[in-house]
Every structure is written in C-alpha cells, then in structure tokens.
C-alpha cells in the first residue's frame, strides 16, 4: 500500500460533499469513493465518517433514505440537498484559493520576501 496522507481537520466534510455530489451513496460507498477519487492517496478513519455524515444531515446539507445496496442489503443512502450543493461550491472555491496561496508561499525562494 502506498503512503497515504491523513485528512486535514475540517476537510472531511468537504470530501464527503464532493463524493455524494457524484451520486447518491451509502456510508461505506462514500468511503470507497473518497479513496478512489483521491487516487487512493487519502486515508480516512472509518468510524469518523459517521459523525460527520450525521452532522451534515443535521445541518440540512445531506438527505438520507433507506435503499438497497449492490449486494442486495438494506443500506442508508445519502443525497446532496441544494444547501449542500451551495456549500460544496463555496468551500471548493475557498479551498482552491487557500491551497493556491499556500502552494505559492511554499514555492518562495530566498530573497523574494
């Protein structure tokens, strides 16, 4: 297994929103999806996923419904609400700004300051 980065505090929710935005998914599926879309580079503490999911649902970013999984088991599927979509857009933007700024800062050479 390649070396994996652990998720920065606060970014787990953003990743969840992104994963769910690709289509309704159950908890385990969301975990797999995050791993897959990050190119297996991010590792998530599995249990920690659920408090985050509950918080997002409580805040009205996600909706949940019981459905049937691929292997025919009952599972709880999460979907993005309009509020969640808005938050994903806003946070993506601010993340990009933040990441670009940090990247620029880190590329600085002696004498530039």
């Amino acid at each position: 297994m390649s070396e994996r980065a652990s998720v920065l505090p606060g970014t787990l929710e953003l990743l969840i929103l992104k994963a769910v935005s690709l289509g309704p998914e159950h908890g385990y599926g969301i975990l797999l999806r995050i791993e897959s879309i990050s190119g297996q580079a991010l590792s998530i503490e599995q249990g920690a996923l659920y408090p985050a999911l509950y918080r997002l649902e409580h805040e009205g970013r996600l909706e949940s419904d019981w459905g049937v999984s691929d292997n025919n088991r009952r599972a709880k599927f999460y979907t993005l609400t309009p509020a969640g979509r808005r938050q994903l857009r806003d946070e993506t933007q601010s993340w990009e700004t933040f990441a670009a700024a940090v990247a620029t800062a880190l590329k600085a050479q002696p004498g530039e300051a």
């Binding site: 908890g27 385990y28 975990l31 503490e45 920690a48 659920y50 409580h58 019981w66 009952r74």
Partner: protein, 896 residues
C-alpha cells in the same frame, strides 16, 4: 435553522428508531468492508475482525453521532434525572421533609405574591389605565367653601388630602376642562334596599356619571352599558347595570334579567345590562353589586338633593388625560377651574382656594393598597426569612449527604468526569427537589386563592380585583423555585466536588475542618433568622395582649348590636325619630332584654363623628360626638358620674342638652363640675346636664378623647346602631328583635348584626392575624433550625465515631464526650443569636407602627426569643450528644 430544529425534534421523538438505524448503518458498513476483505483473500473470521478493528470504537462514534444531532445534552439530562430520582427515593425521609418545607415556603410566597400582584402591581383592567388621573385637593383650616365632606382623607403636608368634590364643581370642570378628554364622577351607594320579584335584599351599588363606562372602555356582557343619556332626570325610567358576581350570586346568571324592573330604595330602575367578570369600576377594594346613573342619586340616597348643593363635597372624580398634555398643565387648569366653580357659589372671600393635585389613577383608588400594603410587606418578610431558613437547612442536609457520598463522587471524578459534569448532576437533584416542592407550593397557592386578602379584609364584600395565578405569578413561582434550587444546591455541590481524590477514596476518619465551616455558617444563618422571627412574633403577641388588656370603659359582654336605616324607606325628620323611638320602646319591652338603646355608630366600630364644642366666645375643642337615645350609658355599661341621663323629652324643639365624658369635663372646667355650663356647637346653645365615664370610641388603640353625647332627636340622623343588653343567646334574641322591628315597619331590614365582642374582634383583626401568622412562621423556622442543628451534629458524631470511640477507650467520661459534641454547635448558635438580634433590630422598624404598648426594641421579647432559641438548640444537640456517649469503643475502632 428551522430544518435543524425539526431534525432535532425528530431525533428526540423517534429516539428508538434513530438508535436502531444507527446500529444498522454501522453494521452494514462493517459487513460490506468484511466482504471486500474476504474478496481480497482473507478468511471470513479474520475479515470480520479486521473490519471491526478498522472501523474503530463503535460506541464512541455512535456517541459522536448523537452529539452531531444535538442529543447529548438531553441524554445526560435524562440520565441525571433518572439518577437523581433514584438518589432521592433512597433517602425518602430527607426528600419528603425537604419537599414539604419547600411546598409550604413557596406556596406561601406565591400566595402573597399573587395578592400583591393583584392589589399593588397590576393596573386596572380598563382601557389605557396609565392615562387616568384621580383628582385630589388639600383640605386646610381655610377650606371654608365646603360644608359636609364624605370620603376618605389622608394626612398630607399642610392639611389633609381629600378626594371628594361637590357635584356642581364636577359639572363645571367637565364642561370646561381642555386637559381631560373625559371626566367621570362616582360615589358609593353602600346601602340599597333592592327588590326584584318581591324579594328584598341589601345591596352595595355605585352611582356613576353617564360617561363613566365609556371613559373606562367598559363593555357589557349582556345588554348595554350606561350612557350619558341615562344620566338625566328626564329619562323615562332609570337604567341599572348589574355587576357580574351579583348577577351570578343573586340571580343565578339569569339571561332573562334584561328589561326587568328593580325597586331601589324609593325609586325604580330597569336592568339594561350585565357587566363582564372583573369589570368593577375603579376601586380594587370592592366590586359594586350594581351601577346606577348619578341622576338617580336623590332617589337612592336619603337627604335633600345633594347634586345641586355646592357645599356638600362627596363625589370622587377621575379624568383621562389628553395625549400630549403634561400633568402640571392639567393640574394648573383644574385648580383654576375648581376655584372658579367655588367662587360662583361662595362669593365671600372667607376661604382660600384649594391646592389641587393629580394622582395617578391607573391602579385605581389607593385605599385598598394602604390597607393591604403593610400586612403584605410584613408577611413577605416573614416568608422570605422562612424560605432562607429552609434553604440553609436543606443546604446543610445536602452538605452532610454529599460528604457521605464522597466516595461515589471521588470515583466519578477519578474516572474522568469533569467537575462541571458532577456539579450539574448534583444540582439536578436539588432542582428536582425544588421543582416537586414548588409544584406542590403552586398548588397550595391556588387553593389559598384570594384567602390572603380575605383574612385581612374580612369577606363581607367581593374584591374589585381578581386574584388569580396569572402568567406573572407563575413566572414568579418558577423563578423562586429556581433560585431556591440553585441556592441550596450550589454550595454543597461545589463543596462536594472540591476534594482531594486520594484521601477521599481512602475515606479515612480524619475530619476535614473546611467542610465543617460551611455547615456551621448555615447553622448560624438559620439561628439568626429564626431568632428574628421568634422575636417578631413575640412582639405581635404582646401587642395583641396589650390591646385586649386596654380598659374599654364599658362592658362588652352580653351586648348584641345591629343597624337599621329607615331613611332608605323614605323616613324623614320627625317620622324618622318616631320610628327609632317606637322600635326602641318595643325592644326594651322584650322579655329577657335588660335594656336597649342606640347611637349613631356604636362603640369600637371604627367610625366616628367629629365636632367642635366650647363655651361661647372661646375656642372650640375638637370632640368625638355620639348621638344617643336614653339609657345608652346603662345599656353599654358605663357609669353616669354626675347629673342625669337623657330623657325622651330631650327632643326637637326642647332646650339643647349635652352630656360630656370625664376627659371633656376636665378640659372644659378643670377642678369643678361642668353641670349647667352652657356650650356652643354649630350655632345652638347646649346645657351640660351630665358627666359620664371615659370609654374608648372608634378604636382600642386610641387614647380616650374628649367626647360629647347629644340626644339623637336633637340632630339630623340616618341609620342608627342599636345595642341590646340581654343574657339570651343570639339565636333566641335575633328573631324576637326582627319581630319587634317588623311590627313598626316590615320593610326595614336589620343588618350588620353582631355581638359587641365580635365588633371589637374586627377592630383587632390585623393584630390577631399578625400574631397568628408570624408565630406560625416562627415555629416553623424554629423547628427547621432545630432539625438543622440536630442533623449537623448527628452527622459529625457519625463521622467522628472512631475518634470518639478511641477517646472513650482511653477513659474519656460521658460529660467530656457530650462537651466534645456540643462544642461544635455553641459557636455557630451563639453567633447566630447575635446576628439574629441585629436582624430583628433592623427589621423592627418595619413593624413599629403595628405595635401597641411595646416597641420593636422590647428587651424582654428579645430575651425570650434568645431563651427559646437556646432551648431549641440544646434539645437538638441532646440526642446526638447522648448517642456519642453510647458509642462502643471496640465497634467504633473496627470501623476504620
């Protein structure tokens, strides 16, 4: 936000389903993970195990999920409550005692507050009450523009504050005032002989100007209210509006009452409406049975037409201030108009124009407030003291209990519970106690209802305000119990959680002195407040005893009194005198009656007539005046010292005569007999024909005043108070008297029937109640303080058992052990007594005016209170001390 609340509520309400789904969701996750791991080649058993490990601590994440939903606080609260209930059930005696104490204290507090709320705080239930102003003026020596005055007067700088005006003055004001949008007048018609369908009853009514109800925004429940058109002599039939409680009580809430004709004294009126509940005009002290237009005054009231008489001041006036008009502008204008009106009738400048004042009218007339304010204050102070004692007491008990629970609390702290968490848990217990006690207290207050005002005012007439447990009262009760719960719970909770973990877990018998200090402070507080209450109750008891020990000057036993007012039936002048004379002669002839007589007010009935009397050409003395029939002194039982009694021949047309009491005789002619002296009252000359002994007149509290007695036939009188001396019982006497009165006129009803002793009892009603209630509270506080001392000492004995056992084993004697225990209480009790004396001294000023024959610094009362406290504390300390001497050394030592 709304979605969040909805979601939270769903979580709260469908809790079980939420838990099930959470479990299922996590189970699905682990199963799915395990399946994948199996696909990657792991054995089924290992796959499941690894999946579980990868997931982490299920319960912790579940808890975090619940927290995400905002359910954690609720869960903890629920757990705390469940735990608290278990704890309290375990200490059943403690819980029951606490709840009972709190129920009584909070119940009393709430009942008092509901009365205060209705009487002192709440505005009248009328439209925009804050705009109402009551007109008043200052009566002085130079107020010679008025003749008779009817209504209350209060002490005021430079004279007396009067609130009644002459009707012509009111009319002048109403026609011209630019400051008031409405000006209304009203006067009490306290004795209405009312008959409907041939059934007669005595009712209390109010005469009001036609705009009265419009100005107050009163609407009718049935029919209509009175209008300005009703207030006219030209009205074909007078209109009457019934009060709600009268309508319910006397007419059974009959809807068909509209349009019926009432006989009211000598006139008739048609019922045009019924007022809604709580619409009682502007006097919170009483609710009129019916309201009649002012124009009916000559018909319902005896005497000549007073509406046209500018010298008869007997009408109260209220106004609604126009928006934007300042009080001072309105006052100045009113003063000017009042002076103008007086000048129209009294051209001679022998009088000074009155100074007019505007009083706030939003609370209605203030007489009830002044009647109830003092009792309420005193009782509120007493209840507050009891409540504080109860709090200190419960805090002490909780403190002891918390110490017993030290091991439990230490264990919880050691296992990582935060101190805040443990304090919260302990507070939940005390708040639960407070809540149960408070709920019972509110129930108690509900049952008491308007009892507080009733016992102070008597229940002859319904109050003009409703005393109910409204939102404000409930909020008060709630705040009170919250305060109490936190008040007695906080200290023990903080104390209990501040401990040295290690030593607590080991639970050695080493006494921790600091925790004992708090307990001692609480004991001191209880002792101090109890002492203040006990001293206060002694002062009130003493006042009562002093009042009853006052020499009355007459014999009140075997005297029955009642009133007759034939003027309501149209009797006037000599017909009126003849009526009274005939009734009296029939009464004197009744078998079993020793003698019978009458006077205007009777003795010690709280009312008086005042007059000026003196030798011609000299200054007149202010005297109390009695209008009496012959044999008055003999009937009431006080001596005729010189001269003669009145005879029936002392009547209108005959020479004016007067009998004086000793005090007046001394003032008129010191050192010699006043018999035969000529005096002047008003204009008529009077000859002194007799001297009688001194008696109390209007109230027991007052010293004997100079008093003059006139024959009743030589004055213009209305109702008279009869007094009948007889050994017969009241139930045998009253029917005989009623028969005798009926023989003279069947339509004149007897009223205010009572024994003279009952009358006197009425005048000391407040004193009796203070003595009773404050003593009750004092006993309660004393008992609580005793329990407090006992509890604290007993707890210390149980904790120091090993130490005491050791001492006994080493040869300590019984009295040494007793001293060891009692010593713990002497300092706090001693300090408490000292503080209590200080508190009682300070609070004494509050009740000074209520005392009689004693002062708020009466040393004997304080000494007695100290002795009571000391006895109580000694009694409370005796049992634990005795228990300490019975400690068996071996068993005590084994305990450690």
């Amino acid at each position: 936000m709304l979605a969040r609340v909805g979601h939270w509520l769903r979580g709260v309400l469908r809790r079980r389903r939420l838990e099930r789904e959470m479990t299922e969701e996590i189970a699905f996750h682990i199963a799915a993970r395990a399946e994948e791991l199996r696909r990657r080649g792991l054995a089924a058993h290992d796959a499941l195990r690894l999946a579980r490990i990868e997931f982490g601590a299920v319960e912790r994440y579940k808890e975090e999920c619940r927290e995400s939903l905002g359910l954690r606080l609720l869960d903890e609260l629920r757990a705390d409550l469940r735990f608290a209930v278990r704890q309290l059930l375990r200490a059943r005696a403690f819980s029951l005692a606490t709840i009972a104490i709190l129920a009584v204290a909070i119940g009393a507090g709430t009942a008092l507050f509901s009365t205060a709320d209705a009487v002192l705080l709440r505005l009248l239930p009328v439209e925009r009450p804050q705009e109402l102003r009551r007109l008043a003026w200052v009566d002085t020596e130079r107020s010679r523009f008025r003749g008779s005055y009817q209504g209350s007067m209060h002490a005021w700088p430079g004279g007396r504050l009067a609130t009644s005006f002459a009707y012509p003055v009111y009319e002048h004001l109403r026609g011209r005032s630019a400051s008031f949008s409405e000006l209304v007048t009203f006067s009490e018609a306290s004795q209405l002989n009312l008959s409907l369908d041939g059934h007669a009853r005595l009712a209390r009514g109010q005469l009001v100007s036609g705009n009265f109800m419009r100005a107050l925004g009163t609407e009718a429940l049935l029919g209509r209210v009175l209008s300005p058109e009703d207030d006219s002599r030209k009205a074909l039939a007078y209109a009457a509006v019934l009060g709600h409680s009268f309508w319910q009580r006397e007419l059974g809430g009959d809807q068909g009452v509209l349009g019926r004709t009432l006989r009211v004294n000598r006139g008739t009126a048609v019922v045009v409406g019924v007022l809604p509940r709580g619409a009682c005009g502007v006097d919170p002290a009483w609710c009129p049975d019916l309201m009649l237009p002012m124009a009916m005054q000559p018909v319902v009231d005896a005497g000549p037409d007073v509406l046209a008489n500018p010298r008869r001041w007997g009408f109260q006036v209220m106004g609604r201030l126009r928006p934007g008009v300042s009080d001072e502008a309105a006052r100045a204008e009113t003063e000017h108009l009042v002076t103008e009106a007086i000048r129209a009738a009294e051209p001679a400048e022998a009088w000074d124009p009155p100074r007019v004042l505007l009083l706030p009218g939003g609370h209605g007339l203030q007489d009830l407030r002044s009647d109830l304010e003092m009792p309420l204050r005193v009782l509120a102070a007493a209840v507050a003291a009891v409540l504080l004692v109860a709090c200190a007491n419960i805090a002490g008990l909780l403190l002891a209990r918390a110490s017993e629970r030290r091991r439990e609390i230490a264990a919880r702290l050691a296992l990582g519970a935060s101190r805040f968490r443990v304090v919260r848990q302990l507070l939940t217990e005390s708040l639960l106690l407070a809540a149960v006690g408070g709920a019972l207290g509110v129930l108690l207050a509900y049952l008491v209802g308007d009892g507080v005002s009733r016992i102070f005012l008597g229940d002859e007439r319904p109050l003009g305000v409703e005393i109910a447990l409204g939102a404000r009262v409930l909020a008060f009760a709630f705040a009170l119990l919250g305060l109490v719960g936190v008040g007695f719970g906080m200290l023990p909770a903080l104390r209990a959680t501040r401990l040295d973990l290690l030593s607590s877990l080991r639970a050695t018998g080493t006494a921790e002195r600091t925790s004992l200090v708090a307990g001692k402070v609480l004991i001191g507080l209880q002792v101090a407040l109890s002492l203040a209450l006990v001293a206060g109750s002694l002062l009130f008891v003493r006042t009562l005893v002093n009042l009853h020990a006052q020499a009355l000057g007459f014999r009140p036993e075997n005297l029955l009194v009642f009133q007759l007012d034939p003027t309501l039936n149209g009797y006037r002048e000599s017909r009126l005198f003849d009526f009274h004379e005939q009734v009296l002669q029939r009464l004197q002839a009744l078998p079993g009656v020793r003698s019978a007589s009458m006077s205007r007010w009777g003795l010690l009935a709280g009312s008086r007539t005042r007059d000026g009397l003196g030798p011609p050409g000299a200054d007149r003395l202010g005297v109390d005046v009695h209008y009496v029939a012959p044999r008055f002194f003999e009937t009431l039982g006080f001596p005729l010292l010189a001269g003669r009694d009145f005879a029936w021949s002392d009547r209108e047309g005959a020479a004016g005569v007067v009998i004086v009491n000793e005090t007046l005789a001394r003032r008129l002619s010191p050192g010699q007999s006043p018999l035969g002296q000529m005096l002047v009252a008003e204009d008529a000359p009077l000859a002194v024909v007799g001297v009688v002994g001194d008696t109390k007149f209007a109230s027991i509290r007052e010293p004997v005043r100079p008093t003059a007695y006139y024959p009743f036939r030589q004055s213009r009188q209305r109702s008279m108070t009869y007094a009948v001396r007889s050994e017969l019982t009241r139930s045998a006497l009253v029917p005989a008297i009623e028969r005798a009165v009926r023989e003279v006129d069947p339509n004149v009803p007897l009223y205010a029937i009572a024994t003279q002793q009952q009358r006197i009892g009425e005048t000391t009603r407040n004193e009796r109640l203070f003595a009773l209630l404050v003593s009750g509270f004092a006993v309660l506080a004393l008992a609580l303080a005793g329990v407090g001392v006992y509890g604290t000492l007993a707890y210390q004995v149980s904790r120091r058992t090993p130490e005491i056992g050791l001492r006994i084993a080493l040869g300590a004697r019984g009295n040494h052990v007793v001293r060891l225990v009692v010593r713990e209480a002497t300092l706090p009790v001693g300090l408490g007594v000292a503080a209590g004396i200080a508190v009682a001294f300070a609070a004494g000023r509050l009740v000074e005016s209520l005392l009689f024959g004693t002062t708020s610094r009466d040393p004997s009362a304080f000494a007695a209170a100290c002795v009571a406290l000391a006895l109580c504390a000694a009694l409370a300390a005796a049992l634990p001390a005795w228990q300490a001497t019975r400690i068996a050394p071996m068993r005590a030592l084994r305990q450690d």
